[in-house]
């Protein structure tokens, strides 16, 4: 017999944690499973135990509030646990997860996926050199361990994250060589009306930028990194001006740096949703392919809810509220007496979404941007495949992401295509003269994360293996 709860939630970021607190507050036996040691997700990541005395930041303060709420609730939080497989057995979800090197499982009547986002980093010549990390990866380093990415860092990418990362590097004593962003000042001005839905968040952004300008950090607007150079690690970065569609335009400008933070927006982590049979559709304004989900997180599958950035990139503020909405609706599906209609919550969700989607809008690379991926740029890092390898595969007639994957091995490495598939879809779309929404992502495959074979099998006796009858002779 396995333990069965009313509501199981995967992910303890803003969406998952709030969904859990809400469902538990409505009297549901709720379990939240998360990969991290502490709740908070990427945005409210806790500091490591070793450095508790470091100064507080708004992220830590919000995160600590959340962690206290979880501690005070009836929620069961399973930390350091990695869900690798989800199955439906009769009316129940069964979640298989690895914890302490072993595979365990729990059952749940209702499942809420709050799997968050992953960062899209467009391949750039030299991006595999040591010293290059993702913008989101840099935030994790800084929030948890107070480590800066290097001594002198070029911070490059789209949307608001470049300004946050640059100001954090400075706060932690690192040097920012420059900020390089494909967005223009005009892009930001155009986003202001939508941003005014969350004045609090807008104000924080102003503070970052003001601090950077006062410190005289060069900001290269409407620019991108053309190439990262170095023998064994980053030594310099070539920066180029971009045209309106973000095609490279004009001569390169050289910057000295020992590290680069690079990122081009977030994408919904939707593998679990897809594996459970939820269709994905292409919604550029939400970051690309997103599962089909209602505002309260409900889906076409009874007992399955999806909320937060995993349902489309609307940002942490919206995720927090959608988590509450999904928690309420999930609770109602277990306990019909729960009143799940809450128009105030719904309205604040919509306001926060407008803000988040404006940020997503700024983060999405425009059509010309992929011209920066040269033929010799590594596209699939796991299998060391260059852009020209992908193009050669398309040349043989492979016109879908599945066919390119089969023929070239792109996406067959440990990351399972999480890092390369968007780029490959863009390359196919470009070659086939199709729009990106016609190039569906490849068939997702379990496990949701790589799992060690020994964790799955545990201790077993050969004689206990239930070996079916042999094949006909």
């Amino acid at each position: 017999m396995i333990e069965t709860c009313d509501v199981a939630i995967i992910g303890a970021g803003p969406a998952g944690a709030n969904a859990g607190i809400m469902a538990a507050s409505q009297g549901c036996h709720t379990i939240i499973i998360d990969e991290q040691a502490m709740p908070g997700g990427q945005i409210w990541r806790a500091k490591s135990e070793a450095i508790k005395s470091a100064p507080m930041t708004p992220e830590i303060i919000d995160g600590d509030k959340l962690r206290v709420s979880i501690a005070e609730s009836n929620l069961t939080h399973i930390a350091n646990a990695r869900v690798w497989q989800i199955e439906r057995e009769l009316d129940e979800w069964v979640l298989h997860f690895i914890i302490n090197g072993r595979s365990e499982k729990i059952g749940a009547k209702v499942l809420i996926l709050a799997t968050g986002a992953r960062e899209y980093v467009q391949p750039t010549p030299g991006w595999t050199l040591p010293g290059v990390i993702g913008l989101a990866g840099a935030t994790a380093l800084m929030k948890r361990d107070l480590l800066t990415p290097g001594k002198r860092t070029v911070v490059s990418g789209t949307g608001p994250l470049v300004f946050f990362v640059a100001s954090e590097i400075r706060r932690l004593g690192g040097e920012v060589a420059a900020i390089v962003t494909p967005n223009s000042r005009a892009d930001w001005l155009r986003a202001l009306p939508s941003m005014s839905y969350r004045i609090d968040l807008l104000r924080r952004g102003f503070v970052w930028v003001a601090d950077l300008l006062l410190a005289g950090i060069p900001i290269f607007w409407r620019h991108a990194i053309k190439q990262i150079d170095g023998e064994t690690k980053v030594q310099s970065v070539k920066v180029t001006k971009l045209g309106n569609d973000w095609s490279p335009k004009g001569p390169a400008h050289l910057l000295e740096a020992d590290s680069v933070c690079l990122g081009h927006g977030l994408q919904a982590a939707s593998e679990a949703s897809q594996l459970l049979g939820i269709d994905v559709k292409y919604q550029l304004e939400l970051g690309g392919w997103v599962p089909e989900v209602q505002e309260d997180g409900s889906t076409k599958i009874n007992g399955l809810f999806i909320c937060g950035d995993g349902a489309g990139i609307r940002g942490a503020a919206a995720a927090e509220i959608q988590g509450k909405l999904a928690g309420l609706s999930a609770a109602k599906s277990i306990r019909p007496e729960v009143n799940s209609s809450n128009s105030a919550l719904l309205n604040s969700y919509r306001r926060a979404s407008r803000f988040g989607m404006a940020m997503t809008g700024l983060s999405i690379p425009r059509k010309g941007f992929q011209k920066l991926i040269t033929q010799e740029t590594i596209v699939c890092r796991c299998e060391s495949l260059l852009r020209c390898d992908i193009e050669n595969e398309i040349e043989t007639g492979a016109a879908t992401t599945n066919a390119v994957k089969s023929g070239s091995r792109a996406g067959m490495g440990p990351c399972g295509g999480k890092y390369c598939q968007s780029t490959i879809a863009k390359i196919i779309a470009d070659r086939e003269n199709q729009s990106e929404e016609k190039i569906a992502p490849p068939t997702p495959r379990p496990p949701l994360r790589p799992v060690s074979a020994s964790a799955l099998s545990g201790e077993f006796e050969y004689t206990d293996l239930q070996i079916p009858k042999p094949a006909p002779l």
Partner: protein, 364 residues
């Protein structure tokens, strides 16, 4: 506008494509239609094992021919002749191994029984708990994920038309042949070959023929790259494990453990209930596998009929229509079956007999 062909083939897997290539040799104007991409059904997702030790006795002559076909296709399909061991761990399995492999050897497969010392000399990392082992030097593997790429290129070279993502929605007959209404236009063909694998039953139903086709849902898993651990393909006496280490270091684990789902509903699902024992058995055979991370598991639909012999011949009751499929071990035998089928459609005597789809089927 309706396109007209001598033959339309429904299903762009190994069976359909290899038949098309044989027909192209004799100048027949053929079109291959596939609902997805070429070679993405069972042809492209199986474990790629080419082992005479797991072939059925009666199919051995076909399997021997099949091995030569794969060897000739060579590097383009990732062919490697590594030799293969089949292992038994209990008295019962050893009996099964001796009985079965002796019959297969009689049928022409160069299978021998080997001592534990010989096994250990060849493969140091295998479990020391092996009780009995057989060996076949002809065994090896190919890379099934290259199937689509391979046939796409071969069809192009031979100027055979093919349409991918082309769903056949309706088949009607008239005096001059067959009209196929598809998601990419209407195709007219004088003759028709159904080679749709696990999807044969609904396709044949368009012509009012009920083929007793079912599908097994076979699970395959692959690990991340590992240091060299095994150089031969390795199987289990019951047939419930196949394992090989590819030249890139990844280890591919199959054996026909059953996942869930039906072909009509998509690609099927892996289930922990069978994945875990499948991987446990693999670790029992190769203990070092416990250090490996599994990066991907998937299932493929392997079609069969109650007697587990192929369907290869005329579609019962429908003139000028043919069917090819349900070949157990179809990956190995497929390219050869396609050649035989092509001969038959061309009115030539096939080198080995086909398998009448109109026969009485008895369950095994």
């Amino acid at each position: 506008m309706t396109e007209t062909y001598d033959l339309a083939i429904v299903g762009g897997g190994i069976m359909g494509c290899s038949t098309a290539l044989r027909l192209a040799e004799d100048g027949m104007k053929t079109i291959v239609l596939d609902q997805g991409d070429l070679g993405q059904g069972a042809s492209g997702v199986n474990a790629g094992t080419l082992s005479l030790q797991i072939k059925r006795v009666q199919l051995m002559p076909y399997a021997l021919k099949g091995h030569s076909e794969w060897e000739a296709m060579g590097e383009a399909v990732g062919f490697k002749k590594t030799g293969g061991f089949t292992l038994a761990f209990t008295e019962h399995e050893a009996e099964l191994l001796y009985e079965r492999q002796a019959l297969k050897a009689d049928a022409g497969a160069p299978i021998t029984f080997v001592s534990n010392n010989a096994l250990r000399a060849a493969e140091q990392n295998l479990s020391h708990k092996v009780l009995a082992a057989s060996y076949c030097p002809e065994d090896g593997y190919a890379n099934s994920s290259l199937t689509g790429q391979y046939y796409r290129l071969r069809l192009k070279e031979n100027e055979v038309q093919f349409r991918e993502k082309c769903n056949v929605k309706l088949i009607t007959r008239n005096s001059s042949g067959f009209n196929l209404t598809t998601s990419c236009g209407t195709v007219h063909a004088t003759r028709l070959l159904l080679a749709a694998g696990a999807w044969l039953k609904p396709i044949a139903a368009h012509l009012g023929v009920d083929l007793p086709v079912r599908a097994r849902v076979n699970t395959v898993s692959v690990t991340e790259r590992m240091p060299p651990l095994i150089s031969s393909i390795v199987g289990h006496a019951t047939g419930l494990l196949t394992m090989k280490q590819k030249s890139n270091g990844t280890i591919l684990i199959g054996g026909g453990w059953q996942g869930q789902g039906v072909p009509q509903d998509g690609r099927g699902n892996v289930t922990a209930k069978t994945l875990i024992p499948n991987l446990s058995l693999a670790q029992h055979v190769l203990p070092e596998l416990s250090n490996a991370r599994v990066t991907r598991s998937w299932v493929g639909f392997e079609a069969n009929v109650p007697d587990f012999y192929p369907l290869a011949g005329a579609l019962p009751g429908i003139e000028n229509a043919f069917v090819l499929g349900c070949v157990r071990g179809g990956y190995t035998i497929g390219p050869y079956m396609g050649r035989l089928m092509g001969d038959y459609i061309l009115g030539q005597e096939p080198e080995l007999p086909l398998f009448d789809p109109g026969r009485e089927f008895s369950e095994v």
